[in-house]
Amino acid sequence: MSLCYNPTYMHIPDSAISPATSLAAVAAMLPAWLAAGRRLRFGLGDRQVPLLAIGAAFCFTIMMFNIPVPGGTTVHPTGAVLLAVLLGPAAAIIGMTVALAIQALFFGDGGVLALGANAFTMAFAMPVCGYLVYRAVAGRSPQNSPRRSLAAGIGAYVGLNIAALLTAVLLGIQPALYHAADGRALFFPFGLKVAIPAILTAHLLIAGIAEAVITVAAVRYINAIGISMYDSGADSSDLRYRGRGRMELLWVALGALAALSPLGILAQGGAWGEWGATELQERAGYIPAGLSRVEEHGWKGFNLLPGYLSDHGKWAYAGAALIGIVLVTVCIVTVGRLLRRGGDSGNTVSGFGEPPEETRVEPGDIPAWMLAAEDDSIAGVTETGRGADFVERTLAGIADAARESVVAERWARRDGLLQHLDARVKIVGLCGLILLTAFLHRPAALVSLYAVALLLARFSRVPLGLMIRRVWLAVPLFVGMVTFPAVLNIVTPGRPLVVIFREPFLAVTDAGLYTALLLTFRVAVAVTFATLLALTTRWDDLLRGLRVLFVPKVFLVIVAMTYRYLAVLLQSASEMFTARKSRTLGRTARRESRRFVGGAIGALFGKTVTLTEDVYAAMLSRGWSGEARLLEPVRLRAADAVWLVAMAGVAAAAIAGEILA
């Protein structure tokens, strides 16, 4: 699971944002999903299903390609802008949504409830904004021109950073919107001032550049092997129409988000009323300002950062914006230089020297140098670096994901309590409990709920050690990272427990520690329930069960197919990395590594396109006509009803405990 909790990764977990925000994000995504689906239905016909499914599997797979960056860490691309450039923004929206859904459902990466928010940032804002920037920069340049691949890189950089900024805004508005009577945040504890610089800096400095380099390399590879890109064949009038449609969509979705967010405040009526007069004044002055900021400055392309700059004038925003401008420039210059240098390839991969010019090799002849028993011309590279290099880390990530999907099935096949229940009932029950954890903020209530989760695991024959390890190794890493500043006196005033500096005074406070622990624990409880659901349900059952949550059939078909082809693409990716490992000695230069990752992603995309065509043919030959038909789930039994009642009881008890305490 190491791949999922990368510090520069930005999947929002459940319980970091309020359910109301999650719902608002889903509402904002609905028009985008509908429009993208309609666009594909008319644009591609019934071909959309395999295209999207395998496109999503592709996105998922490349999220496991680690790229070395300065400082010894690695980041991985999301591929959203790459997908938009190659298959169009509509395909990117759906493809990324499916990839995110699978990560949330089966890999515990990003919350199930927060899917709407994660989709809004990574499946909507990122590909659409990235694509618009790409189109603006590319203009009418020919498909294989350097300008076009450069445009894709800039689009990727801007897209990723816009997604990061939106993530920061979604998290940052939480404390202002949802907090208890004592002022402690119910969900994510930091305001915009902390969240934006923290999240954006990492993306501006590292992840954005990596994403851009990867996108450029992959687009260049795809041009080299002659796969045509999304807009290369269309006529200009069509392009104009498409461009305008997208812009309108963007405004509609953003307007919806801005308009729906205040509903969250109304839903928290009790908390609202408990505010003091001065506090209400302060909040009332602050919240609408925060929302109208989003509304007013929405998407005006590059105006976004300067907008924040002028409104606030705070050094944090100014710093972030300045870094952004400098980095965009540096990025353009660097990518330009990389493109010019494209001709001189490093010879790390090709360890063999070229065959000597004078001895011409006829077809079928074995070249003389191959007959020598030992080849001395291969440079003797010795192991110089310490630790695993990126190939091992990537291989490990891919192996993890493959093992994950098999191991998870193992517990689902055991003879236990949850395994016997109908998937639909389990989904409703456990999702209800997850939702409940988001509302609880009494430690006792949360601890009891956690005990219930562990008891369920025990009766379902899932080893407790496994459950605890899975949750407590991963959750503190993500949540702990974002909550760390909260323990300090500068963020949360309180009685100092551990003094770090005397001058200036910096200490861990009791109130800060309490806030951080409560948030971490709440997320852990939610993740435990989600893990329990994923571990005890065969994923085909889980998918079919999702129909009770009104998930459309065609979406389920796409998710199922994505999951299935994940195995095929992971196998391909794994073979590519193994092949590279078998041909290289020791560690390779970072620049060379980045080029390899770009090429590998391009090659994987080539395979993806072929696979899509073949799968579509196979579906057609068995009568596919664009309408999804699934085997119906079996009928509910008495045990299932008992389970629903029991879960309702647990929920009622937890709520009662919360109120009484």
Binding site: E409, R538, R564, V615, A617, A618, M619, L620, R622, S625
Partner: protein, 301 residues
């Protein structure tokens, strides 16, 4: 070869009778994937109901494209295709009823099982076709059970396709097609990637499906299985046209023809001190005599 001509009343009568005689008819079919890269050039052939036919040809000669045209997965740039008397073209597929009738009649077993198995579990995989055909759910379940028992994959029904071995995947792919009870089965390189035991099993299955009245068309370059899986062989050359069609045993005996279309190759090998070469294919027995003095080889096949 079946020739069609207008005007003549006998031919017209023949056309009306066609559903009774022919499973698949192609008339002057040309097809290509990209401009300037032809896959099929003016192909005319007819396959009778209940016939078992092998399509022979080297890599890239157009065997797979021919199968795809026969099953209506791609449509020819020129020429006509008929399946069981109904013309196949893009217009036919707009009508759901006739599209389903055609899909049900012609089953296609792809070379790469991974592309054919796109569902979450083996059970859903087998159910996919019948569900598209709007079959009753009870009937679908019954057919899944029967076909799984027939192919011995009953224990795999709740497994995911990616957990299966190559041989098991092939069986599931077959089951997913057989469950629709097609009248004609098109196999694309069925034995490629299978171990000898699975190959044997598959050949015997094809033979028994033929005995049950199915029309069998197999594209292959595995000449060793041709005598069993085909009564007639159609040979494609590297110009994407049909060069020969006739009884399988006659085609296999025509060494010049097979050498010309690159299905067999000059094989150099050594017997004691004697090095020589002769036309050779892999699959059947390798049996020939040597004359130690002259080096002349006599092929026995």
């Amino acid at each position: 070869m079946h020739k069609l001509a207008g005007g003549d009343s006998r031919v017209a009568a023949d056309l009306n009778d066609a559903p009774a005689i022919h499973a698949i008819q192609l008339e002057g079919v040309s097809f290509g994937y990209a401009e300037g890269v032809p896959a099929l050039c003016d192909v005319t052939l007819a396959i009778a109901r209940g016939e078992k036919v092998a399509l022979l040809g080297a890599n890239g000669s157009g065997k797979s494209s021919l199968l795809k045209v026969m099953s209506g997965l791609v449509h020819p740039h020129s020429g006509f295709v008929r399946a069981f008397g109904d013309e196949i073209n893009e217009r036919v597929f707009r009508d759901r009823g006739s599209a389903h009738r055609l899909r049900r009649r012609i089953g296609f077993i792809f070379q790469n099982s991974d592309t054919q198995l796109f569902c979450a579990t083996v059970r859903e995989e087998i159910a996919f076709g019948p569900l598209q055909m709007d079959l009753d759910l009870g009937e679908v379940e019954r057919r899944i059970g029967d076909v799984a028992a027939m192919l011995g994959i009953g224990s795999l029904l709740d497994r995911a396709p990616f957990q299966l071995s190559g041989g098991e995947k092939k069986k599931v792919a077959l089951a997913s097609v057989l469950v629709m009870n097609p009248a004609a089965l098109l196999f694309d390189e069925p034995t490629s990637g299978l171990d000898p035991r699975s190959q044997r099993w598959l050949v015997e299955l094809i033979v028994s499906l033929h005995r049950a009245g199915k029309t069998i068309v197999t594209a292959t370059h595995d000449l060793g299985i041709v005598p069993e899986i085909a009564d007639r062989a159609i040979v494609m050359n590297e110009d994407h046209t049909i060069t020969a069609s006739g009884p399988a045993c006659e085609i296999l005996a025509d060494m010049d023809l097979l050498l010309r279309v690159n299905l067999i190759h000059e094989h150099a090998h050594r017997h004691g001190t004697l090095i020589h070469s002769h036309p050779h294919h892999h699959g059947g027995d390798h049996d020939h005599d040597h004359n130690q003095d002259t080096g002349i080889v006599t092929e026995n096949s």
